[in-house]
Symmetry: C2
Subunit: 219 residues, 2 copies
């Protein structure tokens, strides 16, 4: 049997208070906020870009881009798609926190928006520990990452409101047992709202856009 060496981590709390502040600001402006998390390369920016193309005309989107390095590759793509975007450079930190998002929110034209997508840093561990004050935590998993991720990164799956399974166009070329994956998800987060889609082909986007539209209209 493999050995195990356990190290317990302390939990910070001031973040939760700042998250509450952020949510109050969003609510005041009738803006629905989403914390979009994923592993590096799961397709956060691609999903956002495809979402931009398909949003109904009444939905006015803003984007907050979290990056660990001072590169604007993703933010530039969003701006090129005609959407206001603010970049947060975490200076090497592995997640966004409520303080950073609180600093970014006033840089967006909140009066004109009714939806904000916050693209967190590509990471399946750190972001799970920090609420941002958004209304929903959404994770993008992707088929090439493998079907064992819920078992290995349980904390992030437990805190989700929505799961997106991206890159389903690659399913024929990859050994991904959807049953095993979904069994892991169900164990951690029973009945989790899930959308399987492909940002490359657009397949499966209709249901995700419908969900998003309902949430924004209810604000």
């Amino acid at each position: 049997m493999p050995q195990r060496v356990e190290i317990v981590k302390k939990i910070m709390d001031s973040n939760d208070r700042l998250a509450q502040n952020n949510q109050a600001i969003l609510d005041q402006h009738h803006v629905y906020g989403i914390n979009l998390m994923a592993s590096p390369g799961a397709g956060k920016t691609s999903v956002i870009l495809e979402t931009i193309k398909r949003l109904p005309a009444g939905i006015k989107l803003g984007v907050i881009e979290g990056d660990t390095a001072p590169v604007t590759i993703d933010a530039d793509k969003i701006v090129a798609a005609g959407i206001p975007a603010v970049q947060i450079n975490t200076g090497g930190d592995c997640h966004l926190d409520a303080n950073m998002v609180g600093m970014a929110l006033p840089e967006l034209p909140l009066e004109e928006l009714n939806l904000i997508l916050v693209e967190n840093v590509g990471n399946l561990i750190c972001p799970a520990g920090f609420q941002l004050g958004t209304h929903a935590n959404v994770l993008i998993a992707s088929v090439p990452e493998g079907d064992d991720k819920p078992y290995k990164y349980p904390k992030i799956y437990r805190g989700l409101d929505v799961l997106i399974i991206n890159k389903i166009d690659l399913t024929p070329y990859i050994d991904f047992r959807m049953d095993y994956f979904q069994q892991g998800v169900e164990m951690l987060n029973p009945g989790l709202t899930t959308f399987a889609l492909s940002a490359k082909t657009g397949k499966g986007f209709d249901a995700w856009i419908a969900w998003l539209t309902d949430k924004v209209k209810a604000k």
Copy 2:
């Protein structure tokens, strides 16, 4: 232009001293140590399993498995392949550190080994900040993660001794500009030793195994 909010992070130093201790222990036992890093799902365990199959008879391998959750999926696979493995559960932390590896080393039969692969936690950010006392930092990038990762996660690329590009079998189905990817790598880490391979088909493994064999023989 997207805005940028800069937050500077403090750097810890006690880790480096513990890393030196680890390297002294490895050297004393003539064991070559590798810190194997990657994004979640890039194929660390698959590369290790394929490496186990192909190692020359004289090379005796041990594995340290870093996991953020108390699951032994990866460690079980290594043990099933007949290789001694120790699991470190970081209790939610996003990287291994020298202290954890120092606690795991005595659990392996160091006298019988000449190579140790340390499978770090799946993450492109945190592991870059913590030397473990191994002799080489190796990153496994994978084709489905996308060709922009060196630009987005520069710190981990700067600290590498070897880069493995895995899942090259998926190249026909994915828009991955190898030129753009390698240009980013070259900018951060000129002349970096790189192996492109597929843990699924075995393609490209010969050069990686030859490099590994040379390093172990030189100890």
